[in-house]
């Protein structure tokens, strides 16, 4: 695998750090005029999501990580594994619970997801930013309460629970933001 020297460091670089793939988020070049140069780097461990700060002496290097990001279609899950397909090559990959994490509650069959592959295996699965999902369970709204702006929980077909206005009923399709977990609007069906 290739290596990156400090003078190639830039944000977006995928590197190996302590045995895990990491994404370089920031690289600050520090050098007193007459002194030694350093790269102060902020990295995100792509497996754990943890942010790490490291300082490298100029000339040091990091091994490149075989990391690819691509859009793949979610096919199905058996509860243990999640299956995705590249719609262009029809190549399929299988993600573990660890890789899918909290994203599982937003995954609807056929939706395009953002997959991070490390050595060919998914390590992170992100649902689309906006999804349209059916309400499968919510308390009946109480008439007259809409003016107060109150909310109630609603369970969606994929398992996510979002706060919705009181007028929302079971069977309706909602547009939600998966990054914030918030209800955005009703979708006319």
């Amino acid at each position: 695998m290739a290596t990156y020297s400090t003078n190639e460091f830039r944000s977006g670089l995928k590197v190996m750090l302590d045995g895990d793939p990491a994404n370089m988020m920031e690289n600050e070049f520090v050098k007193p005029g007459k002194g030694q140069a350093f790269s102060r780097v902020k990295l995100k461990n792509l497996k754990t999501g943890k942010t790490i700060e490291r300082t490298f002496k100029s000339g040091d290097s990091l091994e490149a990580a075989d990391v690819h990001e691509l859009e793949m279609q979610y096919l199905f899950s058996d509860g243990e594994e999640w299956h995705f397909m590249d719609p262009e090559t029809f190549e399929q990959v299988v993600a573990t619970r660890e890789a899918v994490g909290d994203s599982s509650q937003w995954l609807k069959e056929q939706d395009m997801c953002h997959i991070t592959l490390f050595n060919g295996n998914p390590i992170q699965v992100l649902p689309p930013n906006h999804v349209e999902l059916k309400v499968v369970e919510t308390d009946p709204g109480l008439r007259g309460d809409t003016a107060t702006g109150g909310t109630k929980p609603a369970t969606l077909e994929t398992g996510a629970v979002v706060k919705v206005p009181l007028f929302i009923e079971e069977g309706e399709v909602l547009r939600c933001d998966t990054r914030t977990g918030e209800y955005l609007s009703r979708v006319k069906t």
Binding site: F29, K31, G35, Q36, E53, D60
Partner: protein
């Protein structure tokens, strides 16, 4: 910004010309570099790939050679581009504008006074009020901020202090004492300087200035050798560096050690020969014009003060 930049350069020239100093056209294309261990040069080659020289990282050796030949010059300066390979970031551009001057007969105090007077004029030009200059001692700052004696602490103690400040260095075993000092200075001490003041720093360890005179002094009762070197910071931004220049050719050769023995390159050899002929007592100061413009304009990225930074060339 283009106007501010042009006016600042005009002002700096006018201030030094008014002292009857001479602007020197130091060659940018040189045979080899200076003796700075931490500055990498851009190497230049002929169209067929034969190496032919380098781009200068400072006009120091050339100007000093002229001073050896013309010791009666009261002052000389160079205002123009210098090049440092691999130095790119929010505060660094590989090509930058340097004002470097040599003032004959000036000791360190005089050199600091000249530097502060120039910065004062630049602030005035920019419509800014004069600001106070805090004078700080290298040793005292390390004691105050890190509870360390920077002249005696070993690499292990310095590394421990860095770790305590959350600085996680990769391949820490390769870090020499001076590397740790540079890192702690850049990451812990400089950011603590007050934003709207100038900080004049003196008392650098002898190891941190290869071409400055050395002086014997005491730190917390213990004798230490310090370099006759100063730095001026605008806020936490390094603006200028100055030396009371070493004129003793034998001492210079000895301090450069291996570097001078291996100085097979013409530029370095000619410099050492000139020094043996006699350099007049002088101080030399290098001021980063882009940095000064950054500080005067409140810009945090050097890109904002350059017509075309290397990212946009």
């Amino acid at each position: 910004m283009l106007i501010r930049r042009a006016r600042l350069k005009r002002l700096l020239r006018a201030e030094l010309d008014a002292r009857d100093w001479l602007e020197i056209d130091a060659p940018a294309l040189i045979d080899s570099g200076d003796f700075e261990p931490n500055i990498a040069l851009f190497r230049v080659s002929l169209p067929d790939g034969t190496p032919t020289g380098a781009l200068h990282s400072s006009p120091e050796l050339m100007i000093k050679r002229l001073l050896c030949a013309y010791p009666d010059l009261p002052g000389t300066y160079y205002l123009g581009p210098v090049f440092r390979a691999g130095e790119a970031g929010a505060r660094h551009n590989p090509e930058f504008t340097m004002l470097e001057w040599y003032e004959t007969g000036a000791d360190l105090e005089a050199a600091i006074a000249t530097t502060l007077a120039l910065i004062d004029s630049a602030r005035h030009l920019a419509g800014l009020p004069a600001v106070p200059a805090r004078h700080c001692d290298y040793g005292a700052l390390f004691r105050e901020r890190l509870d360390l004696d920077p002249y005696h602490a070993d690499a292990i103690a310095l590394g421990r202090a860095a770790a305590e400040h959350g600085i996680d260095v990769v391949a820490a075993q390769d870090m020499r004492r001076d590397d740790w000092l540079d890192l702690l200075m850049s990451v812990v001490i400089e950011p603590s300087f007050p934003t709207d003041a100038l900080t004049v720093l003196t008392g650098y360890p002898a190891s941190q200035a290869a071409m400055a005179r050395l002086a014997d002094t005491r730190f917390e009762g213990r004798p230490v050798r310090v370099a006759e070197r100063f730095e001026v910071y605008g806020g936490g931004l390094e603006l200028a560096n100055g030396y009371h220049e070493l004129t003793d050719a034998a001492e210079q050769a000895q301090r450069l050690g291996d570097q001078s023995r291996e100085a097979a390159d013409a530029t370095q050899r000619r410099f050492l020969n000139a020094l043996a002929h006699g350099l007049p007592d002088c101080s030399g100061v290098a001021l980063g014009v882009d940095r000064l413009l950054m500080w005067l304009s409140g810009e945090s990225d050097i890109d904002a003060v350059l017509p075309f930074s290397s990212r946009r060339v």
